[in-house]
Amino acid sequence: MTVRVRTLDELLTPPAAGSSALSTQEYFVNMGPQHPIAHGSLRLVLRLDGETVKEVIPVPGFVHRGIEKMCEKLNPRQIIHLTDRLDYLSAVMNNWGVAKAVEKAANIETNGRIETIRTLMSELQRIQSHMLWWGVLGMDLGAYTAFLYAFRDREIISELFEETIGARLTMNYVRPGGVMFDILPDFQEKVKKLLKYLGPIIDEYDTLLSGNVILQERLRNVGVLDGKKAVALGCTGPVLRASGVPLDLRKLTPYGRYGDVEFNVAVGSKGDCWDRYYTRMEEIRQSMRIIEQLIDSIPEGPVNVLRASARISIPEGTYYDQIETARGVLGVMLVSDGKSPSPYRVHFRSPNFNNLWAVTALAPGWRIADIITIQSSLDLVIPDIDR
């Protein structure tokens, strides 16, 4: 038996200085938990040699709230609102992930209208999420204007959500057996207007940032993650697809209305930061395509097949289901003992938790500034890592 439990302090002993007067010494630097790059509270301990990064030790847990423990005391409907607070930038998709798992476990059939609305909202949210990422990447690289342009346009989608759902960020919209509210009569019209506006806007983003020579220099050939390594490191979502692995659950196991629509999976070739950048830019366009195809074909029907007070009982067993959020595969594992209304155990396979560790493989050998690029290109949401 060779179990050896270590502590962080053990890892952080500075290496000894050389004997020569000119020899250099490696040193540790804390990036975070409060650091402009952290976008939340993530601590990265860097072992540096001058500007060159030798090792990255991520220390998560600064927003660990114990959601999995809390879920053991809540019924399936109440779990939904906690999933908003995991990856708040793909709140609708997170809700849907849990709702889908519960529906599969409890054998609840939904109708076409519900699935269409869920798909539409998810894709709108995906666009919104990628827009925020684009702006934040610009801000991290020093182009602050990009951030504000992205937020200018993101605000339109936020308002659309607020009209329909009543919240801008934490939606709590999709629930087992349906969605919370029906869409408004002018929803379709507004979405069409939005799509018409977004087309040229995404091209403007390209002229503002993508074509910039400094940005290309910063992103190209930096942090190359090949497909094999990405799979071994458990990366999903745009990070994995940028490495050339076309794993998209929307295509692989179509759920919602994804089976009925035509869209392409954006796949990179090399797996560097630029590929991750452009994969996401392309995904925005593909999401717009999906919305375009669905917006005119929303079937009639009720938006909730269950009564609001209906008790959802999950039969005894272990259920696993997954969904493609804006950042990768969200897996939901529900374990029920068949007795109490709340599940016996809930586990979320969060995409960011698994994507985070790519930093440890990508960063060594690059400069401090490249850590910023790499972390931005992974598009991490810290509360989703910590849960």
Partner: protein, 154 residues
Amino acid sequence: MDAQALLQAITGVNPAAQERPNTNVPAVQVPVAGLHAFLQVLRDDPRFSFDFLLDHTAIDWMADGKFELVYQLFSTLHGHTLMVGVLIEREQPLAPTVSDLWPIAEWQEREVYDLFGIPYDDHPDLRRLFLEDDWTGYPLRKDYQDKNMLQRPQ
């Protein structure tokens, strides 16, 4: 390979594997002895080629005195998934590490160690992940007590 054929092929490889009941995905239950070798076969055999460890976590079956380790495997080649459940003793738990098969397991196992207190044999870097190093107790165990944990008034 559909679920039935997959399960049959797996029983062919490891006779000790049983089908895990009450799941919505193909699932097997194997004993902890020989787990590492079994998972290695699942990864390397071209019929299975489970090159992707989607998820690894644990379930605390306190009434039975067992922990159950759950591995969610996925194959990017064939596109099929498999859930592997392993029961280990709740008293003095110990599990073999699979971080040499799938590097991501290193951190997923650290999470399980942090929240369940299941140590892993030969793990390269077994540390607390989310909680501080000096935290006492393992919060996802069913018998965890904490005075900071407010109970919802009924």
